[in-house]
């Protein structure tokens, strides 16, 4: 199976390059570039989540910013209450420990994704795209017009969260944790996709009728994939808020949904490590062009347009050849 191993090699090379970049930056004492690598890893993680729904499950969700933002707000609200001693809804106290924050971000995103998925998956095609967008907008407008947690201004996070035993606030340690999450999630996804569930999900995308005929109902399979996908993106949101020291409505905006989607496409739809390539390309493009002109989004638009029109298959298609099925 030469092509499969080529994809594995390309994926490992990508991850190794990201880790090497962060280590080099650390050796040179360039904190900015370590954080840049962390940002790439986090944005990649969010897109790995969307890729599960969009790439493997064929569910074009235009609302994943909802989960990204929810994760971010979990981190933000936890930090706020850790300082002011208050409690969320009068019951849940704040914390600066990262592990419960991650847990709540994952569980909350999954819990919110269940009703959204139950309603949205009744629809198909454009309707699915639009209804996921509508749900994300619902949460966005709620966050904006509800002043208790910052409203339009968002929530600054004044204390970095902490982990036992390590200095989590150190940029390199933070990168290591984020990178470990990325690798762990990628490995888990590879396992899940190679199991029966992955086969069912692929068939739910390609031919739901055939899957149903084989005795597996497509709906629960798709819903499960959608909820898992939301949980991963939610986790990425919590990490992102911690990195930036800020959680705000911009994390929930539909631009963010579009950006996560762009990363998935840029990297290669339904390629496991595609989002890593896509995230690196997008973030580096932003930094590189943003250095020359304040109108960098113009260039981004042109690049994106050219990729969609002429370079189908994305970066992974270019690095690792066309995908192999089976």
């Amino acid at each position: 199976m030469p092509d499969v191993s080529r994809e594995v090699v390309a994926s490992l090379a990508l991850l190794a390059a990201l880790a090497a970049a962060a280590l080099t930056a650390a050796a040179l004492g360039e904190v900015y570039y370590i954080n840049l690598a962390s940002r790439i890893a986090i944005v990649a993680l969010a897109s790995v989540g969307l890729n599960l729904a969009l790439g493997f499950g064929g569910m074009i969700s235009f609302g994943h910013a909802a989960f990204f933002g929810l994760g971010g707000y979990v981190a933000g609200i936890a930090a706020t209450h850790a300082i002011d001693g208050g409690a969320f809804a009068g019951v849940i106290p704040g914390t600066t420990w990262a592990i419960p924050i991650w847990g709540v971000a994952i569980l909350l995103s999954a819990a919110v994704a269940v009703p959204i998925g139950l309603i949205s998956l009744r629809t198909e095609g454009v309707y699915f795209i639009m209804i996921t967008l509508a749900f994300a907008q619902m949460i966005y407008y709620f966050a904006i017009s509800f002043p208790a947690y910052g409203g339009e201004d968002g929530l600054p996070i004044y204390v970095r969260s902490q982990l036992p035993l390590v200095r989590y606030g150190d940029p390199l340690v933070f990168f290591t944790v984020v990178f470990a999450w990325l690798v762990l999630v990628l490995l888990l996804m590879r396992m899940v996709l190679r199991a029966r569930f992955g086969a069912a999900l692929t068939m739910a995308r390609l031919n739901p009728l055939r899957l149903a005929t084989a005795g597996v109902a497509p709906f629960p399979v798709k819903l499960t994939a959608y909820v898992l996908s939301a949980a991963i993106t939610g986790l990425a949101g919590a990490l992102f808020a911690d990195l930036n020291g800020f959680a705000g409505p911009s994390m929930l905006s539909w631009h963010r949904s579009g950006e996560i989607m762009v990363i998935v496409i840029l990297g290669g739809v339904g390629r496991l490590a595609g989002p890593v390539a896509g995230a690196a390309a997008l973030v580096l493009l932003e930094v590189a062009i943003g250095g020359y002109t304040q109108y960098w989004q113009f260039v981004l638009g042109v690049v994106l347009l050219l990729v969609v029109l002429f370079a189908r298959g994305g970066l992974m298609g270019w690095l690792a050849g066309p995908p192999r099925h089976g």
């Binding site: 795209i129 509508a134 113009f298």
Partner: protein, 305 residues
């Protein structure tokens, strides 16, 4: 009380009519070409900017309005010929991404040409006044004129599609595009025309709104998303659904913002009622959309195509 109700209903209607101008083009393009166009809001923005700029240069609102509509239609035709027509055969994902890229290009382009600060447009003198409503409240004439224009456009679209040769070709294009190509209709030109027509309507909406709110980069996006809500509620591809959905969304949103804070005030303290009511009101149309789709997954008036 009656005056307040009438005023708010008119506000809702005016908002709905603006949404209709956007939604009509979107739904037409989707119905005929099967294309989902996120850049429709950019055409709205183009109309707004060109109208405000031209009106400021010439001192004449009407010249600006005409220029705005023409510029939006021309921009629509230009992107149809260069980009959009390559997307008809692609799946929705590619369409979403390519038109998302167009939004980035248009927004930054507008910032480049017109600068980052918002433009303002004055209400034309002929419409700068108020009318006394039954009940005694004064209502701005300009908003009434917008309602009139919107209803006029709706009637015009109906006549165009049901009664003219072009309309017949558009309907045939929805039903079976290969067949009307085989019958000798120039499909490519027809598609460009339809797209430019939708773009012109979006430009008209953008130009008219300039006198009510500031013209700035990004103004098209909230309206675009609402227009999507409208066509999803109405049934994608159906003009009738777009009209019905627009008015419904316009009224629900406007009335919700007025009544909900008061409604929550019945069982919450006033300060909390205002926040909670405001928050719920801003989500209301999305709740409406989710409810409608949960019951009727293809909208209220599913198009037959």
């Amino acid at each position: 009380m009656t005056a307040l109700v009438i005023e708010q209903v008119l506000n809702g209607l005016q908002f709905g009519v603006m949404l209709f101008l956007m939604a009509a083009g979107l739904t037409l393009v989707f119905g005929v070409m099967g294309l989902i166009n996120l850049a429709h809001g950019s055409l709205y923005m183009t109309g707004g900017f060109v109208c405000a700029w031209t009106a400021a240069q010439t001192g004449n609102f009407w010249v600006g309005l005409g220029a705005g509509v023409l510029a939006a239609a021309a921009a629509g035709a230009a992107i149809e010929v260069t980009v959009i027509r390559r997307l008809y055969a692609r799946d929705h994902l590619d369409q979403v991404l390519a038109t998302f890229a167009l939004i980035l290009i248009f927004s930054e382009g507008a910032r480049l040409i017109f600068g980052a600060s918002p433009l303002w447009l004055n209400v034309p003198q002929a419409l700068d006044g108020t009318i006394t409503l039954p009940g005694g409240a004064a209502y701005p004439l300009y908003r009434l004129a917008i309602i009139g224009v919107g209803l006029g456009v709706a009637a015009g679209l109906y006549l165009l599609i049901q009664r003219t040769r072009l309309g017949m070709q558009i309907r045939a294009g929805e039903a079976d595009r290969e067949m009307i190509g085989a019958l000798g209709v120039d499909i490519a030109t027809l598609y460009t025309l339809v797209f430019a027509l939708g773009a012109g309507l979006a430009g008209l909406a953008g130009a008219m709104i300039g006198a009510l709110q500031s013209v700035q980069v990004g103004m098209g996006e909230p309206v675009l998303i609402l227009a999507f809500v409208v066509i999803v509620i109405g049934g994608i591809g159906s003009i009738r659904g777009a009209l019905f959905g627009s008015v419904l969304v316009g009224l629900v949103d406007t009335l919700g913002r007025v009544t909900l804070p008061a409604g929550f005030g019945l069982f919450l303290p006033p300060s909390q009622a205002a926040t909670v009511g405001g928050a719920v009101a801003s989500m209301l149309i999305y709740v409406l959309m989710a409810c409608i789709l949960a019951v009727r997954p293809r909208g209220l008036f599913p198009a037959y195509a």
